[in-house]
């Protein structure tokens, strides 16, 4: 599969970038390595010819439908922040394989507790090795002026507790694992 599934604001698109030939991501990458960008894309099966315009290697505009559209993009892993006409869109690549692995990981290794937002660990109420009931508060996360109880999604044994009270954590950080 040379296309990618992109998600932003609850909308999803399958996007495949292509040069004039042959249609594969490797080809697209080769094109870019030679300093040219792909010349058309498939967006949900719709063919969209376009031209990428760069300044010092950095994408500054995309020409599509005969019009040049200023755009900025910055990537962080599987996330891309795209600025267009005063708005910012956060676009994520959805990884089918990663999702499969995630499901596998859960079955194999129990359930991970993930920080729903960035914040500070205010309290840890369990220790590694503790047996917890489903719904039991495992730790308390403080974001600004609010405290959020992080609860065990299932009964089991706490096999990992990576953070101490006072630690700052990012959104998505694995806080604990319960098997």
């Amino acid at each position: 599969m040379s296309g990618m599934r992109l998600v932003s604001d609850g909308e999803a698109r399958d996007v495949r970038l292509e040069g004039s030939a042959p249609p594969s991501r490797t080809a697209a990458r080769d094109l870019m390595a030679r300093g040219s960008d792909p010349s058309f894309a498939w967006i949900d099966g719709r063919k969209v010819p376009f031209r990428a315009v760069r300044r010092a290697g950095e994408l500054v505009a995309i020409e599509v439908g005969g019009e040049l559209l200023p755009v900025r993009a910055a990537r962080d892993g599987d996330r891309v922040f795209v600025g267009r006409a005063g708005r910012v869109f956060e676009v994520r690549r959805e990884r089918v394989r990663a999702a499969t692995r995630r499901a596998g990981a859960s079955a194999e290794h129990g359930t991970g507790l993930v920080a729903p937002m960035p914040g500070r660990i205010r309290k840890t109420l369990v220790r590694a090795g503790d047996v917890v009931e489903a719904g039991q508060v495992v730790l308390v996360l403080e974001a600004m002026k609010m405290e959020h109880a992080i609860r065990a999604p299932a009964s089991g044994t706490v096999t990992r507790l990576d953070h101490a009270e006072g630690d700052l954590v990012e959104a998505g950080a694995v806080l604990a694992e319960i098997r």
């Binding site: 910055a74 892993g77 599987d78 922040f81 795209v82 267009r84 910012v88 676009v91």
Partner: protein, 501 residues
């Protein structure tokens, strides 16, 4: 105080970070004053450090042991040979102990006397003081008290009431309480936050007045005892009890009300022998009655809108008055008059729905410019936004001939701002500028809560294409890229070494 000899400042240490440190350095440099930055370890690459002539470390750890450490800051001042300290706002700006320690160390304190900070810093005491001086105050609990006493006071005032920290401002520890049943939990939470933020868990109650506007007056005093007001700032656009948009003049004031409030502001400042820049905050109810809320004994975040309409530099005045100079004679004769209209938009790293702070790296940052546009920022592309500190990234200040033009200028400039990598409140700021309430000038502190939540149009093709190009650029997840905040992307990279999927 007036007997004190003039002692012009030569080397100024700014005990702060971010946009306010940068802003103070700019004026100091224009005055030929040497500039000294201090920084916590996680700020070694911060913008404010590079905008100063010299920079001294405060060590690693949370703000409590860096920017809030009086001994470390005084030590840095000594190492740098600084002769004055400007506290900015937040951190130690309203800490009387710090003001006293600075003066005891033989340094110039750019701010009011420690006694004035104490007088105004204790909100319960300042309310009593203002009432005695004939300035109207919002009905509230009259003494710091235990929970039982406050419950009785709440019953007397009638719900809803607001719980406020006696020792602080900035909305910290503030909570709206709708009924007696909610009071004990609200008091406990407010005390906990107040203790953590200000080292004092005293709280008090105020009657909740709504709809109401927040209108504040800039005041300025010198060591010869002159106190003037520099007109008002309308601060009613708030979320979480914190301002996000300010404007001057206030659409709510007419000349008679402006004059009455200005006189009350001067009385409030004069009552505590105020020296330097300060702000007297008032609540204005639907019947256009005004009440003293509190006095901020420091430079205010939103001071640039006053600078814009008056054509003055308040930090320059702060530094000159701290060095012993009197306020300019022309000013005392009522010689300044505001011109045009100014609006400030505060850009915060926070989500635009729940207003929770966001952290991350600013992967893209490009500021607006052009006629009538000023940006005070403390970040650049690549800056790391850390949850340890206030999430204010920058302030956009626009100035135009009238209010309508200022609103259009603010919209134009906001749309020029490109911030990638960290979510900001820009959509909220845009919605405020577009709202009928703001446009008409008929708004109160509930404006943000009442904003219509309109869905955004879906991303156009060029956005999906730009994202796909960026993702294709450095190969797939196995390539050399920054780790994402998604723990599963890290997991996958780790596992891809185990063999083909």
């Amino acid at each position: 105080m007036s007997s004190r000899a003039r002692q012009p400042i030569r080397h100024l240490l700014v005990a702060n970070r971010g946009e306010i440190a940068v802003r103070v350095f700019r004026t100091a440099r224009e005055m030929g004053i040497g500039t000294v930055a201090v920084f916590a370890e996680d700020d070694a690459a911060a913008v404010h450090v590079e905008r100063a002539d010299r920079a001294f470390p405060l060590g690693a750890g949370p703000a409590a042991v860096t920017y809030l450490s009086i001994p470390k800051i005084l030590h840095a001042a000594k190492s740098a040979g600084a002769d004055a300290i400007h506290p900015g706002y937040g951190f130690l700006a309203e800490n009387a102990e710090f003001a006293r320690a600075v003066e005891d160390a033989g340094l110039v304190w750019v701010g009011p006397a420690a006694s004035a900070i104490e007088e105004m810093g204790d909100k319960v005491r300042s309310r009593a003081r203002m009432r005695d001086a004939g300035v109207p105050v919002v009905p509230g609990s009259e003494r710091g008290s235990d929970n039982a006493g406050l419950a009785a006071e709440a019953a007397r005032l009638g719900f809803p009431v607001i719980v406020k920290a006696s020792a602080g401002g900035g909305g910290k520890g503030m909570a709206l309480v709708g009924s007696a049943g909610e009071l004990p939990a609200a008091l406990a939470e407010a005390r906990r936050i107040a203790a953590a933020a200000f080292g004092d868990d005293a709280v008090y109650l105020e009657k909740h007045v709504e709809p109401a506007r927040h209108v504040e007056f800039q005041v300025f005093g010198d060591r010869s005892g002159h106190v003037v007001h520099l007109f008002e700032r309308e601060c009613s656009v708030q979320r979480r009890h914190q301002k996000i948009v300010e404007e001057t003049p206030s659409p709510a004031l007419d000349p008679a009300l402006r004059s009455a409030m200005g006189r009350a502001a001067i009385e409030a400042a004069a009552a505590v022998g105020y020296v330097g820049a300060g702000t007297v905050e008032f609540l204005l109810d639907a019947d256009r009655r005004f009440y003293f809320l509190e006095m901020n004994t420091r430079l205010q975040v939103e001071h640039p809108i006053t600078e814009a309409t008056l054509g003055v530099d308040l930090v320059r005045w702060q530094l000159e008055v701290a060095g012993g100079a009197d306020l300019p004679g022309g000013l005392l004769d009522g010689g300044v008059a505001p011109r045009g209209h100014a609006i400030e938009l505060r850009l915060y790293a926070e989500d635009p729905v729940e207003f929770l702070p966001r952290s991350g790296t600013l992967l893209g940052w490009s500021e607006p410019a052009g006629p009538g546009v000023r940006v005070d920022s403390g970040v650049e592309r690549g800056s790391v936004v850390n949850l340890e500190y206030d999430p204010l990234l920058a302030k956009l200040v626009v100035h135009a001939e009238d209010r309508a033009a200022a609103i259009e200028r603010a919209r134009r400039a906001l749309a020029e701002w490109s911030v990638l990598g960290v979510e900001t409140n820009a959509p909220v700021l845009e919605a405020v500028l577009d709202s009928p309430g703001f446009r008409s000038g008929e708004y109160a502190t509930d404006l943000v809560r009442k904003l219509a939540r309109t869905g955004r149009p879906p991303a156009p093709d060029e956005v999906w294409l730009a994202a796909a190009l960026a993702l294709a650029e450095s190969g797939d997840a196995g390539g050399a890229e920054q780790p994402g905040s998604d723990p599963w992307s890290a997991l996958q990279r780790f596992r891809s070494g185990e063999g083909p999927p």
